[in-house]
């Protein structure tokens, strides 16, 4: 399968005062188009850092990251921002909706950066909210929604621009079992029906089972031996 995301010998070192903290120590991995990849590992293993690098919200200290044929690790901040707007959908553990905007307006946010007309934006937002089953909650504010519903709004926001890749950082980490299951089902639906490439970080083995592949990280390195094909849920 063609690698949509190609990571070559990526290292990431954070500087904390006078100390250097190596987080990724030479990762090489490919993520094929249409993949649903779960990144697992203990705290501090570097999985969120790797996700951030794939999403273009951080840059590697060394090595290269190529997404859909473009080496994003060479982009400057401005170019990365506009690249993210077109190619990446984000799902966070705590949903991170803007509390002063309702569901419709939250989902519309990424579209404000496009040249779509107001009418076209409305159509896209309505379609995204209908996909996540919140067509009837468009004008509810985050405080008027349950955690599961908030995460579904966040998923709608992530897919509304039809991104190349969706990155999800512990998307079920703050949800109860029922809502976590619904969220994972939704991600699988996006992967299988809409062929979205998804990279998800999770601590939860049950959540990881929804992915097509699982990669384990430890101390900034891939543990090749445990790369596996997830079982069908």
């Amino acid at each position: 399968m063609e690698a949509l995301v190609q990571i070559d010998n990526v290292r990431k070192v954070y500087h904390r005062d006078a100390f250097e903290v190596p987080v990724l120590n030479g990762i090489t991995v490919g993520v094929p188009r249409g993949d649903f990849l779960a990144l697992m590992g203990p705290s501090g293993s570097g999985k969120t850092t790797l996700l951030n690098l794939i999403a273009g919200i951080d840059r590697p200290t060394a090595g290269s990251i190529t997404v859909d044929g473009r080496e994003i690790s060479r982009f400057n901040e401005s170019a990365l921002a506009s690249w993210r707007a077109r190619h990446v959908g984000f799902i966070f553990q705590l949903y991170n909706l803007i509390p002063v905007l309702n569901a419709f307006e939250n989902v519309e946010l990424p579209l404000l950066l496009t040249k779509l007309s107001k009418k076209q934006r409305r159509q896209h937002v309505e379609a995204a909210l209908n996909i996540v089953g919140l067509g009837d909650r468009m004008f509810h504010y985050p405080r008027q929604l349950s955690g599961g519903q908030e995460q579904r709004v966040a998923i709608a926001r992530a897919v509304v621009t039809d991104p190349t890749i969706i990155v999800a950082d512990e998307p079920t980490g703050d949800l109860d079992a029922k809502n976590a299951q619904e969220t994972l089902d939704l991600l699988r639906q996006l992967n299988e029906e809409f062929e979205k490439t998804i990279v998800m970080v999770t601590h939860d083995p049950k959540a990881a089972q929804h992915a097509k592949r699982i990669l384990h990280l430890e101390k900034g390195l891939l543990v090749e031996s445990v790369e596996e094909q997830a079982a069908e849920a």
Partner: protein, 378 residues
């Protein structure tokens, strides 16, 4: 603008804080606009007056009165067209809070010396005929609900004299709207001093005024009552100077106010920005660029200060337009208004405050690394 909704919602996300901030801004812009207008009123006073009049006062001080006998000598100075007497009395109507300008003048010389008073000929004739007649500014008439023919008694402030007057004429002159004039003869008959505070001298040619001034002062130099002659503008300016360096004081208060507002706004705006670190990180993650974040936040902060400007300057404009300013200012600033230039200066100050106070928190937000912002909660 497609970002308007986002800006608007963020403006009032913390309603109490926004309300207090806007009230504070409003109060300070009200103060600044008012100070500017009061200074402007002083400037107008000190630069006002006709260009062809000289004012002769005692060389010792304005409080020292000159003898009536000076009038004839003044009249004989070449180039002098008319001479009239005038005395500042001071005083009030009924209660001390009803203090206003009360002066005497020679009733038969009003038109010759002060044509700008623009008085109805019939009323002026009535005023001149009645020794106890009063010529009253239109604002005073309105303030005390007086009408022509009313009899009023004023109370002394300086001299042992409580004038009993009949209102005979009204002047609609804008700068003299809160003044009342009575006959110099009535005043003098009561006190029998045959002395007066100032002589007002009208000259034939403006260019001759410096020479005439010198001739007048030279004529009385060796008398018991030497004179000092001013142009009317110089004379008026004395009163502003008597108040000390009011301009410096008011200017300092205005600058302190702006400095204070910048600090307070900076604190509030920093708090507002810090509360939204994660949200800014999310916006940046989904593609909002540095410039866009900076623009959105600065726009939000400038709008906040501009709302404060609307409240403060608009409130002042409405108060001065519809309030009884003659009453509130005890007759000193009956025509206080917020001029468009003042409103524009305050608007510029509001934008300045928004940009300066909001600049640092906006820059910090714009420069925020997405991973640092998300790390707060993720």
């Amino acid at each position: 603008m497609k970002y308007a909704k986002l800006i608007r919602r963020n403006l009032f996300r913390n309603k109490l804080r926004s309300f207090l901030m806007i009230v504070l801004m409003g109060a300070i812009f009200f103060l600044i606009a008012s100070l500017i207008q009061i200074l402007d009123a002083f400037d107008n006073f000190s630069t006002g007056g006709a260009g062809d009049r000289l004012v002769v006062q005692s060389a010792f001080s304005l409080a020292t009165m000159l003898p009536y006998a000076h009038e004839e000598k003044l009249r004989r100075v070449p180039g002098v067209v008319e001479v009239g007497k005038s005395q500042w009395l001071g005083g009030y109507y009924k209660e001390r809070r009803n203090t206003f300008a009360i002066l005497t003048l020679d009733a038969d010389k009003v038109n010759a010396l002060f044509p700008e008073l623009n008085i109805d000929a019939g009323q002026l004739a009535d005023f001149a005929r009645d020794r106890q007649g009063a010529l009253v500014g239109a604002d005073l008439m309105s303030r005390f609900h007086w009408k022509i023919g009313d009899r009023i008694t004023l109370h002394r402030e300086i001299f042992p004299f409580d004038p009993e007057l009949n209102i005979r004429a009204v002047t609609h002159n804008a700068t003299l709207g809160s003044a009342l004039y009575l006959h110099q003869d009535y005043f003098n008959e009561a006190l029998k001093w045959n002395r007066v505070g100032t002589f007002w001298v009208k000259v034939a040619h403006i260019n001759d005024m410096p020479a005439i001034s010198q001739q007048i002062d030279a004529a009385f130099k060796n008398s018991e009552d030497p004179t000092e002659t001013f142009t009317e503008k110089e004379f008026n300016r004395q009163f502003v100077n008597m108040m000390g360096n009011v301009k410096l004081l008011f200017g300092t208060i205005s600058l302190c106010s702006i400095f204070m507002i910048v600090l307070l706004a900076a604190i509030t705006m920093s708090m507002a920005a810090r509360e939204r670190v994660t949200e800014v990180a999310v916006l940046k993650a989904i593609g909002f660029g540095r410039g866009l974040i900076l623009g959105l936040m600065l726009t939000e902060f400038v709008i906040t200060t501009l709302i404060g400007w609307v409240v403060g300057v608009g409130g002042a404009a409405l108060l001065y337009r519809f309030g009884d300013m003659a009453k509130y200012t005890m007759g000193f600033l009956p025509n206080l208004r917020i001029a468009p230039a003042t409103a524009a200066i305050c608007a510029a100050a509001a934008i300045f405050v928004g940009l300066v106070a909001g600049g640092l928190p906006s820059m910090k937000s714009a420069n925020l690394r997405v991973v640092d912002g998300l790390r707060k909660v993720v």
